[in-house]
């Protein structure tokens, strides 16, 4: 444990001499993280938000290494302190949430009364089309004919629309697609690149224009 602490203290001291954002500093941080995680010496508890608290602790501590004071405590203790702080924070949030929720009530007669069950049902609302349905519609209708006119090497039969419909909703493997279009080995190699560079951007744009992001 002493060895570990000495190593960690030295790494932190070294890291502080490297400029923020420099490769050397990133390497020191990587080493600190690795040593600590593998040691399994950090405080551990089994709460649903533990991993989130751990992530927050690491992000904070690694960006604020200068806050560690070797004369006060060991590195692990310093990390644990921060971790426990984050855990308390999440626990408090969770408790506040709990207190706002309604649970079933036991009546005096011993029956269960669930307030939620007694709320009036919402009137039928027009269901919103799922993203995949809207996208499928758009690909199939191709209103501006952009998909149909994005061709792989001037072949009318291999265009963005055709390729999209072969990859979605059912994902046809590239090898099968290549066979179907009788592509040469060179063409088979370039088709996925064509898909990535010329076809995907069209769908990317569509997603952005629909406000899906």
């Amino acid at each position: 444990m002493d060895d570990l602490n000495e190593n960690l203290q030295r790494l932190i001291a070294d890291a502080l001499t490297c400029p923020v954002g420099s490769v050397k500093r990133q390497q020191k941080i990587q080493r600190i993280y690795q040593l600590v995680m593998k040691s399994k010496k950090l405080w551990k508890e089994y709460s649903p938000y533990y991993n989130d608290a751990l992530q927050e602790m690491w992000e904070y501590c690694c960006q604020h290494l200068e806050e560690y004071d070797p004369t006060v405590c060991s590195v692990i203790t310093w990390l644990d302190d921060r971790l426990k702080k984050r855990l308390r924070y999440h626990r408090d949030v969770r408790n506040r949430e709990r207190n706002r929720q309604v649970f079933t009530i036991q009546t005096d007669e011993g029956t269960t009364f669930d307030p939620i069950e007694n709320l009036a049902a919402r009137s039928d609302i027009q269901p919103i089309l799922e993203i995949w349905q809207e996208t499928l519609n758009w690909v199939q209708s191709d209103p501006e004919e952009r998909l149909r006119n994005t061709l792989f090497r001037k072949r009318q039969d291999i265009n963005a629309q055709v390729l999209f419909l072969m990859r979605f909703p059912t994902e046809t493997p590239w090898s099968i697609i290549a066979e179907r279009f009788q592509l040469t080995p060179a063409e088979t190699k370039y088709l996925p690149q064509f898909y990535n560079r010329r076809c995907l951007p069209l769908l990317r744009e569509f997603g952005i224009s629909r406000g899906y992001i």
């Binding site: 995680m37 993203i131 995949w132 909703p169 370039y190 996925p192 995907l200 769908l203 997603g207």
Partner: protein, 320 residues
């Protein structure tokens, strides 16, 4: 290189899976139209979030929102788990649920990637392990024994983007252009630039254009580098190179230099713009299979060099 899979345990980096990550993964999976696709998207999202969380700890800037893995419509049609690394490019994060010697990487997830990280996801334990990374994949199978330790990742990322990728001209004849290069038609479609190909005599086999930003020292100075393959046979390829103004400008800035460099960066030919030049052009030159050359565009203190090569053997297959 990893010799032994046992070594993986030593060099792999544990990263815990957060509730945040699982919520995104569930949400994105719920948008899919089939259970298989949902599972794929679920795992891809966990892998991307895990790598992102790790990079945040190291202080390496990344941008989830511009990654394809974060785009709802692209997710539908492609098996991609990319993470945009700010200023560098996209890192592909492939998930494995059990550790096996080979990790499958789909073809559409290999193009325009700066590297690949393999992430072992133990969902039951809500724990992930970053097993290692590599800069390229042969075919669709990535052998874990080929992975490099994550400890090398910061230096690897830092070294990227320092040099422009080599342009293999034969591939242009197969309609394959390296990142940054486009056909003139594509470029015309995108901007209101008025690129004029001044070829009085020749009908080029193909032409590629790249926009170069010399802006660092000089302010807004984008120019277009145009390379045309005039003819090609087994002995040699004839090439014409021009530089034209971009961004709606009519004239090139004066004293702009265009130089043809040998493989060892010696200047073979050079031309320079004067006051009101619409374009400058090198004398046509030829290159033989196996040879390489460079083009340097220089304006005052700013210069950009592009490297080109002609592969030997079959179209598009560069001999290493």
């Amino acid at each position: 290189m990893i010799d032994d899979l046992k070594v993986l345990d030593d060099i792999s980096v544990p990263v815990m899976i957060t509730q945040d990550a699982r919520q995104f993964a569930k949400q994105f999976a719920g948008q899919q139209s089939s259970p298989q696709k949902a599972e794929q998207v679920y795992m891809n999202t966990l892998a991307v979030c895990t790598v992102n969380n790790y990079l945040r700890i190291l202080g390496i800037p990344s941008d989830l929102t511009t990654s394809d893995s974060w785009n709802p419509t692209v997710r539908l049609v492609a098996d991609v788990a990319d993470l945009q690394i700010t200023g560098k490019g996209r890192l592909e994060c492939r998930a494995m649920t059990t550790i096996e010697p080979i990790c499958h990487v789909p073809l559409e997830a290999q193009d325009e990637r700066i590297g690949f990280i393999v992430v072992h996801i133990d969902e039951a334990q809500q724990e992930a392990a970053l097993l290692g990374f590599t800069d390229r994949v042969q075919g669709t199978e990535l052998a874990l024994s080929q992975l490099r330790s994550l400890a090398e990742l910061p230096a690897y990322l830092d070294g990227l983007g320092k040099e422009n990728p080599l342009v293999v001209l034969n591939q242009w004849l197969d309609d394959f252009f390296e990142a940054g290069w486009q056909t003139a038609e594509t470029l015309l479609g995108k901007t209101t630039m008025d690129l004029v190909w001044r070829f009085r005599d020749a009908h080029p086999l193909t032409k590629g254009v790249k926009l170069l930003d010399l802006g660092m020292e000089v302010g807004e100075q984008t120019v277009a580098l145009l390379v045309a393959i005039l003819s090609n046979d087994e002995q040699e390829m004839n090439i014409r190179v021009q530089v034209q103004p971009a961004a709606g400008k009519k004239y090139l800035p004066p004293h702009l230099k265009l130089a043809l460099l040998s493989e060892s960066d010696d200047v073979l030919r050079e031309v320079q713009s004067r006051n009101l030049d619409n374009f400058i052009q090198l004398p046509d030159f030829s290159c033989s299979p196996g040879e390489a050359f460079g083009l340097r565009i220089e304006l005052n203190d700013a210069s950009i060099t592009e490297h080109f090569a002609l592969s030997t053997g079959q179209h598009g297959a560069i001999q290493q």
